[in-house]
Symmetry: C2
Subunit: 308 residues, 2 copies
DNA sequence: GAAAATAATGAGTTTGAATCATTATGCCCG
DNA sequence: CGGGCATAATGATTCAAACTCATTATTTTC
């Protein structure tokens, strides 16, 4: 007598499917394989005796039946989330500090909205950013001066820490539309050799292009620095040099034609962000939710971002 | 990153727990073992870091956290059920005939309310009772003159049919409060020997006491028949004989002291009801729901009824 | 205080949900 | 039109969650 074939898991899948538009992306977002989702869908469709979505079209299109289930998901999953938050409160885990240490300038672009979304859900949590960017924030977390650190790439395992993937973004090269390099479909490391590279005034370690592309290739262009993203874009637009920034920072500058962007290297330059917490912290409901909420916000809102 | 530990299954469990008042009963209702529920609860409680219910008290008492989850269940599960009904409609399985064949008189007591509850959920289903009680309704189902038959005990497997347990009820002996047998804590078959047994005018096959108790024991009391349950009770109350009826039929007669009831045999006389459908019919959403709905209504509303 | 109900526990088993490795399908573009 | 890329389907295999079984512990009842 198997009453409920349907489980919350399936509703999560449908939601992801709707947001991502295809099985593979949705699977990545759910930390599952494309195969898993395919099997899942097939089982559901067999059970209900009707197709739930048309997959050979981009993005996937939900049938009437699929839409009905999607609506169910939209109604039910938030209720579940609410209940679980309240349970955390009832279990005495509804409040506490959440100090976030961030390495990179640009992260503030998404960190602020994420914090804004988080605050009303967990009014009992004291949310702070550990200001002044820290070269290596991991010791902060280890000695409990921060609950969470955002770091690049997955660091080697540490006994006290646990790492959760946040997302992968693309760093793109920026130049004025009239710049000679704008003619190329993508840039190689060598293309930077005779250029002026405009960056934030931070160590090369913390600059994606330098760390992952130019330093390995032994390229060392002229440099110029600016504190603010707008200032960098200003300099680029006026032809004073080229820059490399995460794709998400520059959406409307591109749209307005002030600057153009080109991938760095054939497949583009991908950078991975992780959230580090102490292992004990990874159990705390509000820290977990901060991570998942941030991830999910970034994946849906930010340009050029994909699941990790 | 296992987000949802909670699944619909758990919500079903909580609901059953609330209705049944203890793990064992709830487990039976869900077709699971008591052990399964115990493990389930423990896992949930470990995950949320708080106790959900106090089990060493009858009925179990939900904690604040438990109540919150129970509320979630009460909100979410009906939404899921609604969605699934609509899916069935969208899949083209929202309508069709549902002709129910019933063996026993008393079954109408619960069949009517069940049908009343069912109708608004499936307006497209043509619900009928195959009237005139049929001695053996199984052939009706086999040759598709009925979609569902209610039968006693689990019949031997038949190639075309599938049987679903409905519930178990107790048949009790009824007598006037002043009757000598009322002094006994329970009745043996032999006690019936010199009595007048008042029954419906149907073959012994279809009378629980006869079939499962007196006939096996070779006891054959005087007989008197009446068509209606009230008439039987009237005769019993006025000392004209004793009767045996399902415990559920007689609640308020007992309460008012007109008659008293005694178990038949040490542990009482238990009878099992099953729903028979054609194997193909067991797949049809509305037939499945009719069965589960009926079962669940009877289990919660009827006296002396337990899960099978 | 014994018997009956009920719950907990840990080991063992089953099942279903995932992955892996591969094949199929559709789409774009030269 | 055919090769290459992105995406989905498939079936075998793996793995772990969830269940059962057998037993012990606890509580209730008479």
């Amino acid at each position: 007598m198997p009453q409920p074939v349907l489980e919350l898991r399936h509703l999560e899948t449908l939601l992801a499917l709707d947001e991502c538009g295809n099985l593979s992306k949705a699977a990545a977002r759910l930390y599952l394989t494309q195969s898993a989702l395919s099997h899942q869908l097939k089982a559901l469709e067999r059970h209900y005796g009707t197709i739930l979505l048309v997959k050979n079209v981009r993005p996937v299109r939900f049938t009437a039946a699929g839409t009905r289930l999607l609506d169910l998901a939209r109604s039910v999953l938030p209720q579940v989330a609410d209940a679980e938050r309240e349970l955390a409160r009832l279990a005495g885990g509804g409040g506490g500090p959440l100090r976030v240490a961030v390495q990179c300038h640009n992260c503030f672009d998404w960190l602020m909205p994420a914090m804004d979304a988080f605050r009303p859900l967990w009014p009992g949590v004291e949310l702070d950013i550990i200001s002044g960017f820290v070269a290596d924030p991991l010791p902060l977390v280890e000695r409990a001066d921060a609950e969470l650190a955002v770091v690049h790439d997955e660091p080697p395992a540490r006994p006290l820490l646990s790492f959760s993937p946040l997302f992968r973004y693309e760093s793109v090269a920026l130049m004025s539309p009239t710049h000679p390099l704008a003619a190329k479909p993508w840039l190689e490391a060598a293309d930077f050799q005779d250029q002026t590279l405009i960056t934030y005034p931070v160590p090369d370690e913390m600059l994606d292009v330098m760390k992952h592309c130019l330093v390995p290739a032994g390229v060392n262009p002229r440099r110029r620095t600016a504190e603010l993203t707008v200032a960098i874009l200003q300099l680029v637009a006026s032809g004073r040099g080229i820059a490399a920034l995460p794709a998400w920072t520059i959406g409307h500058y591109i749209a307005r034609g002030y600057v153009v962007s080109r991938p760095i290297g054939r497949g583009g330059l991908r950078c991975d962000l992780y959230a580090a917490t102490r292992r004990a912290g990874a159990e705390v409901a509000y820290i977990r939710e901060f991570i998942t909420l941030t991830r999910s916000l970034c994946l849906t809102e930010l340009q050029g971002v994909s699941a990790l």
